[in-house]
């Protein structure tokens, strides 16, 4: 009986931390869903998240208003993403190369500008506990004792779902991602739709980075995203380009990431290297399964992903 309670407590702790850990990846991944549905792949999420994280810290330290800091974080990342948009949509460059360049640029710029902010103390975004609901045995801590950004994340993912599937812009977005020539023939502003999608993706990635520094670690450190941006791109594929499933995939990844310290803290002696492999193993396996499933069902990648769009090309 005691073991059952201990295990239940352990699982609750894992899920609670999973949501905190996965929230930043979820923001970036949902942004990437919007961008990829429009046909533009953005591999610069790592750099965008770093820019968002640093901007959030800077504005929080100088100003103190967390909402402003988050908004500035999103804005700064959107600014960096606009370079990607210009290169890829304006000049029809290779999307993969441009994305990686943005990633490296973001890492370098933030490393340089962030020197003065390593070790600076600030009040981040606190936990927001919903009064009565937080005491429910399992769902209490997991769902109702998180920081306010997690609640924002739930709204954002719902909003992304509605945007893509229930609005006119979403319709344009999907059509541009599947067959831009047909959309162009229907007088959809293809370039503009794509640019907005990339900027939105960048904005959300910036908020994801802001969550990392303002609500999760309460600090800035060079390259603090440790690969989460790249994972976000993979999670988009795992989730089948669907925003709500992306949320789930991100939390799953978060759960596997926090498993390692949780197991160690519980005194369970597993090889740290094996446990640290789990999240990435999960991503590879899930990616493989997802691709097989998509090949069979026919649904999957937006048909025009990564393809250039040139008006008038047949």
């Amino acid at each position: 009986m005691i073991y059952l309670i201990a295990i239940a407590a352990f699982i609750t702790a894992v899920f609670t931390s999973a949501i905190q850990s996965g929230a930043s990846i979820a923001f970036a991944a949902i942004g990437e869903v919007i961008s990829e549905r429009a046909g533009v792949i953005n591999l610069g999420l790592e750099g965008l998240m770093l820019v968002g994280a640093l901007t959030g810290v800077i504005v929080q330290v100088e100003n103190g208003n967390p909402a402003l800091a988050l908004f500035a974080a999103g804005l700064a990342a959107a600014l960096l993403a606009s370079i990607h948009a210009f290169l890829v949509i304006g000049l029809n460059s290779n999307q993969i190369v441009s994305g990686i360049a943005i990633s490296i640029l973001g890492a370098g710029v933030t490393g340089l500008l962030g020197r003065g902010y390593v070790g600076v103390k600030f009040d981040g975004i606190a936990k927001f506990e919903i009064p009565v609901l937080k005491d429910i045995p399992f769902f209490g801590p997991v769902l109702f004792q998180q920081d306010s950004l997690v609640y924002l994340l739930l709204l954002v993912s719902l909003g992304a779902y509605l945007l893509i599937n229930r609005t006119r812009y979403g319709l344009h977005l999907r059509s541009v991602g599947e067959d831009p020539q047909a959309a162009y023939a229907q007088s959809v502003a293809v370039q503009r739709t794509r640019v907005i999608a990339v900027l939105l993706g960048g904005f959300l990635a910036g908020i994801g980075g802001g969550h990392l520094s303002l609500a999760y670690t309460y600090a800035w450190s060079e390259r603090m995203t440790v690969g989460r941006g790249i994972i976000a791109v993979g999670l988009v594929i795992v989730a089948g380009w669907r925003p709500l499933w992306t949320l789930l995939a991100a939390f799953m990844f978060g759960a596997l990431t926090v498993l390692h310290p949780k197991l160690q803290a519980a005194g369970i002696n597993v090889s740290p290297y094996l446990v640290k492999m789990l999240p990435y193993l999960f991503t590879i396996v899930a990616l493989t399964l997802a691709t097989i499933r998509f090949k069979r069902s026919g649904q999957g990648m937006p048909a025009a992903l990564m393809k250039q769009f040139l008006p008038g090309q047949t």
Binding site: S21, I89, G119, K121, Y218, K262, P272, Q313
Partner: protein, 393 residues
Amino acid sequence: MLERIRRQKSGSLYVSRPRWLTIALVLACLCTVIYLQSCTTQPASNLTDPPFGFEKNSGKLQVGFITVGPASDWGYNYQHNQGRLGMEARLRDKVHTVLAENIPENADVERVMQRMVDNGANLIYSTSYGYADSSMRVAKKNPNVTFMQALGLKQAENLGTYSLKVWEPAYVCGAVAAMTAKNEGRFGFIGAYPIPPIYWTVNAFAIGARSVNKAVNVDIVFTNSWNNPTAEAEAVKSLVDRGVKVIYVLVDSPIVGVQAAERAGVYSLAHFADLSSFAPKGWLTGSHWIWARLYEDVTQKVINKTWTNQPVSGGFKEGYVGLSPFGPAVNGATQEKARELSAKIAAGELDVFKGPLTDAQGKERVPAGQSLSTEAILSFDWAVQGVRGAPTK
């Protein structure tokens, strides 16, 4: 946007770009490349102003420091820089120091060391454990320059090694923690990798805590990185979830861990520097690395030309380590006891790793009456009884 699809006379399609745009893009790329090149190469014939700020003909000993991370990390690299500044303040007219920070542990550091030597360095302090092979290679190529490798294990004719006996303050930290958190049995420890520097600290911490309260257990979580804020924040959360009331943070930049412990309302201790400003309520004390004294002693020897390549090490006795300032939670009696323990260790009356010592699996490693030699401590790869979560050996 500006490209257009055109049709050749033969009927095939091609992409064309306005000529001015092509020329503009090519020029932009060239300019960027040339600008970046000029930033990184040194002015060729400017011998009076070498990079790094060394002064070739000033008569002072030119000392270069290389750190793996930023001096602003309030941790490992911060303390080395504090040591550099302290030494420079005390040997003001005799030395000129220069710091190169954020140099990664790969071929880059060899380049940086060689450039320092070429620009006039007489003595180079290589402060990161991972630089050991590189400093050995550069030392062999430059026999006229003295090299000091922190935490190194091999010496060369012009390369010496230095370390600190941090297990001494770690022991006292454990005792202070156990005296302050009187009825708590679960302590936590966040370490980077399962390597000797972590083991000798966590073992000393556990032994010190258990010397006050036999029921204390230390749960250790490895983040597998010297600097990974998300892993450190998560490690603190995991330990706090398990009911830990005291956390000792040993990573390059303990800020994140200490702050997370403060937010969770548990006591914190840290390695390297004084982080009391990050945890105003929960800070107890820490293992303070006082490099300034060591740097002063070694540099003075180089100036007097009495330097040898024998390993330099020291603890409380030499003044190379200390206890960080106490936090508000540590009462006067505990502080007195801590000072007493430090004095005993300095005088040689108290040996931290005195037997009998059993490891976490119950096997006796050091029999009663014996003690661990310094070499055994420097290659520590097992956890003492009381430390939970370390890999079994």
